[in-house]
Symmetry: C2
Subunit: 79 residues, 2 copies
């Protein structure tokens, strides 16, 4: 089972991307953890270390980061 | 069967995104057409009309566009 983390911040662009992605992804092959960085601010540094620049973003277990559309920068999420 | 179109221009960011996406997508539910806009320039106007601003991008059959990372703007693709 592959793993992926979807980081978002509750913004409309994020919610839209989340819905679309979860509809596309083969959940029998990939387990997606969804992390709301607005609610779990302790995870912002994880996201940063993993290479996330903006949300929404999907981090794959091979280290690749897919930034999907543009909701907010991590800086904006930190506030 | 849902349909989606993946537009790219052969750039490294595009190739990477394509590989990652195709690994994630449930191909039993979604049929993905891959269009190389560098080779099929007649498709650039389609992409533009569908709301694609940069490549790589995935256009879904509900009209939503997911811009994934950033390889090149459509303007750059036109050259």
């Amino acid at each position: 089972m592959k793993k992926a983390t979807f980081y978002h911040a509750g913004c409309p662009v994020c919610v839209n991307a989340e819905q679309e992605l979860l509809n596309l992804i083969d959940t029998s092959k990939v387990q997606v953890e969804i992390v709301h960085l607005g609610e779990r601010t302790e995870k912002i540094s994880n996201a940063e270390n993993e290479g996330v620049k903006s949300v929404p973003a999907l981090v794959l277990d091979n280290g690749n980061v897919l930034h999907i559309n543009h909701g907010a920068t991590l800086k904006e999420v930190k506030g």
